[in-house]
Amino acid sequence: MNKILKYVILDIVRNKIVLSYIAFLFIITFGVFNLEDNQSKGLLSTLNLVLFIVPLVSIIFSTVYIYNSSEFIELLLSQPLKRKTIWLSLFYGLSISLIIAFVIGTGIPILIFFPDFTGIMMIIVGVFLSLIFVSISLLAAVYTRDKAKGIGIAILLWLYFALVFDGIILFLTFQLADYPIEKLIMAISSLNPIDLSRIAVLLRLDDSALMGYTGAVFKEFLGSVTGIVISATILILWFLVPLYFSLRKFKNKDL
């Protein structure tokens, strides 16, 4: 497994996309922190970047990578290796390289400008988002044989999590405006890793005071130990479950 993992990581680093991803993240994060005179504002802009770019790059890069290495996978399968080992190595390879890229590109500037728990939380959130979207992309790739369709599905999934889901929530808040729906909305939002990450970080910033009563309800939940445990569990489930299903499919897949 270590050997395959090493090959995968080397291969990813060699194709330079990840290197330019690091450079891109680093320049933008540094730029944002330098542009904003208020550090907290800088962190907010970085948050938007993390919530927007990290899932997008993770999901598309991984999907394309899986399709492109289909021959490599076939070659590996001809060797006496377990399918599980191969698939997990791919997952680890992709996620480790993307996480390292994120930690170098965004983590270092954050730690320079914001070296406290909120900054560390941002980094943790980014790491989780990378993991989750790599795992979702594996699921998308394993279920569709056609490359174009697979990438299309990956993009649609990203759109769903980044935009459509929020639209649905907005719709729900208007439909159920007459009821005390804060807790319900909180529960629904936590079904989306991007929303959950955004709220968790936002509540740690000064701006949370703008969220008034709603913010207070969320703060009470996310500030408590149960809240933290539940949201961490949800984030972990978000990459374990797609990974499990993709693995199950890959094991029985007729390549």
Binding site: L51, T173, G212, F218
Partner: protein, 415 residues
């Protein structure tokens, strides 16, 4: 001519001398013949001066019931032992200056204060230090009184457990100037106080409001600093208030406002500085008022204007770095925005006269949405909201049509 002037000067000297002949100065203190302040007051006649020297005095309640001048030398300490009202002024023309007072009693029925003025005129309370008291300085039915340069500090944590630093009730023509208040319930409290001035005070870290202002017509407050108070400043049910050149800083929290205005009319808010407040100014039921030449900086909302406001003229202000510039709760707009500088303005100025050619709409779609629908705040700072706001800016459909600045300035106003 000359002899007349000389004669006048001569007579005026003679005249003023004659006063000092009739009034005397009494010394009281630990090393003096008269040991207690109460004793000094009882032997004094009207218009005498009492000078109290350094020391600690436990005199229970000191009642000043004749016109006297009380001067503390090197801040003699008057202690209320957490049981008594320390000084009660029940006479006109009392001057009380240079004392240190601490630990006034606490009672919700009688509201004891460190210094309380009852139905009196022309009282001057200046240069005192008041520590850990229930109420600091309390004026009821006072006319023409001055509260100057006092330092009033407590460490209140709960609204119910502590009184106000400077509390004025049913009074007229007061001057409150140069005081420093900290850690009380309200820094300065005005109820039914008219024709008064609040000038150059600093009100910090009070549990509730920095300044609390109700039914107090024709007052002005000028050049004060209200910083980091639990709920900022509230001005309610008042006509003709003038608020000039004040600083409202860091009143940050779920229910904190730079100023909360409720049922205000014919008032002026000019030249103030609102910085880092959750809401800079919250206006409800405000009519015929002018908000001009203020700086709104780094607030959550610079202005929250409820639809119940009428003829509020908001002109020549600088809006810089606020999360939301303006929020409102309805589509009816009867207020005017003109010639303000908005840092979020994205229009152009073809003839370079400093006035943007496209009107600016300070209300974002999302601030409309959350005003109607609080739980939607869960989408705060999400990507979809940013997109919605952008598209609404291009083609306004849901935000109030009339709420716009027709002549937005392209450069910051020098204020």
């Amino acid at each position: 001519m000359k002899p007349i002037i000389i004669r006048l000067i001569f007579f005026s000297i003679l005249f003023s001398k004659s006063f000092t002949v009739f009034s005397k100065t009494i010394y009281a203190g630990k090393n003096q013949k008269i040991k207690s302040i109460n004793q000094a007051i009882s032997i004094a006649t009207a218009y005498d001066s009492i000078i109290i020297t350094e020391g600690k005095y436990f005199e229970k309640n000191i009642i000043i019931n004749k016109p006297l001048v009380l001067i503390g030398k090197n801040f003699p300490l008057l202690d209320g032992e957490k049981k008594y009202e320390i000084v009660s002024i029940k006479s006109n023309e009392v001057i009380f200056t240079g004392f240190k007072l601490q630990n006034s009693g606490k009672a919700t029925m009688t509201d004891p204060a460190a210094i309380k003025v009852y139905n009196s005129k022309k009282v001057i309370i200046s240069g005192n230090i008041i520590l850990n008291s229930y109420f600091g300085i309390y004026i009821q039915y006072g006319i023409d009184c001055k509260i100057k340069d006092n330092k009033i500090i407590a460490h209140g944590t709960d609204e119910q457990q502590i009184g106000n630093a400077i509390h004025c009730w049913k009074s007229d023509s007061l001057i409150i100037s140069g005081n420093y208040t900290k850690g009380h319930r309200d820094g300065i409290y005005f109820e039914f106080v008219t024709n008064s001035v609040i000038w150059r005070n600093i009100s910090k870290k009070n549990v509730r409001y920095g300044l609390h202002f109700m039914f107090s017509h024709n007052d002005s407050y000028i050049s004060n600093v209200f910083e980091n108070n639990g709920a900022g400043v509230a001005v309610m049910f008042t006509n003709n208030v003038k608020m000039y050149n004040n600083f409202f800083i860091y009143n940050w929290g779920d229910a904190a406002y730079g100023i909360l205005l409720k049922e205000i009319s014919d008032s002026y808010i000019v030249g103030n500085h609102f910085s880092s407040n959750t809401v800079g100014i919250y206006l409800e039921g405000v009519s015929r008022s002018v908000i001009e030449k203020n700086i709104f900086e780094k607030n959550g909302w610079a202005l929250k204007i409820q639809a119940s406001c009428m003829e509020a003229n908001i002109n020549f202000n600088n809006f810089i770095g606020n999360t939301f510039d303006v929020g409102t709760n309805g589509t009816l707009v009867m207020n005017n925005f003109n010639s303000n500088y908005w840092d979020k303005y994205e229009g152009y100025d073809l003839n370079r006269n400093g006035i943007g050619d496209v009107p600016y709409r300070p209300i974002s779609l999302f601030s409309m949405i959350i005003e109607k629908n609080q739980p939607a705040l869960i989408l705060f700072r999400s990507i979809m909201v940013t997109l919605l706001d952008k598209s609404e800016k291009l083609i306004p459909s849901l935000t109030p049509e009339n709420l716009k600045d027709e002549k937005p300035l392209t450069r910051k106003i020098n204020l």
